[in-house]
Symmetry: C2
Subunit: 191 residues, 2 copies
């Protein structure tokens, strides 16, 4: 299944946003999300992570779909309510997409000291949320084994930010830009 | 796999809350969540729903796990950000658990007029969120085919509220009360 073709055909553009809520992050198509999970697990088949880390809410479906193929636990960071646990790891994140600052928070007990985390999210744009998740993993004593995104906006700088930490990044679909109200799919990278 | 025994052993009580974030709604165990999805799909095998409806974020894992067995799309209501779509269905919900009022919102295009929705969430307590999801489904022209919860607190009144609408309710695990800092598992209902 060609996920890029689906994003190209069914993604709706609003300003500089690519809306995929018809099949990915509001209404989730069971066949598409399963294929996304399969592709991420296949790409990282040699990674052997101990857990998947994501952030609520839209990261959860691709994380769950990938976990089914690995299979490993999924830890999702909370954004909107404090967890109540006393021992949590927190980062403040500025989201340029939404124009707000929010907290992401993971209980230390949810992570594993020394554990290898595959970090998954639906979108890679500026990369601030992803970077914060990686920092939380490392603060817990864990290791960032890699990053997987469903859709990467190449023009938003997130890959450079994550790679500057030495972290490995892979995306199912990369968007080179937006033209005539449609996302322009980038050519696949050489692997 | 006996999900009730897992809730009894691993659920942590804080006040009148039963915390299951070690395996269900912060760190999600892949084997446990898969079994929960399997049991819900098995219970509702004759229901033949067109879609599953839940609310972000903690409803998404059991909804995704069930959808894998059905398989149907999962629509998750947004709670914290407006969707941006002009045509949305909205309810204000008072959450006694969290002591706050919040909005749940679903784009009309995500639902199907006439579609039969199985509504899934992690907890049934007072039932306000679940009731609001059912009302949104009906407002969209759809039908509430049934409700499935992972954990029901029998003493919180949610079942009566939902059944007063004529809706069918089933829970994987029912908790009769909390004693000595542990959840007390209710005996299974006659089916």
């Amino acid at each position: 299944m060609d996920i890029a073709a689906i994003v190209e055909e069914r993604g709706r553009v609003s300003g500089d946003l690519v809306l995929v809520d018809d099949f990915l992050n509001h209404r989730v198509d069971p066949v598409i999300i399963d294929e996304i999970g399969r592709q991420i697990a296949e790409h990282f088949a040699d990674l052997d992570p101990d857990l998947i880390v994501t952030a609520e809410a839209s990261g959860i479906p691709p994380a769950m779909a990938t976990a089914r193929y690995m299979p490993v636990p999924v830890v999702y960071a909370k954004k909107y309510h404090s967890i109540g646990d006393r021992d949590t790891l927190v980062r403040e994140v500025l989201s340029p997409t939404k124009g707000v600052e929010y907290r992401i928070e993971i209980a230390r007990r949810a992570l594993e000291s020394g554990g290898r985390a595959l970090i998954i999210d639906d979108f890679l744009a500026g990369g601030r949320t992803a970077q914060s998740l990686g920092q939380i993993v490392e603060e817990s004593g864990g290791v960032v084994a890699g990053y997987a995104f469903v859709i990467e906006k190449q023009f938003a700088g997130g890959r450079d930010l994550l790679e500057s930490h030495g972290w490995d990044v892979w995306s199912v679909v990369e968007i080179a830009g937006i033209e005539n109200g449609k996302p322009v799919i980038a050519r696949p990278r050489e692997s």
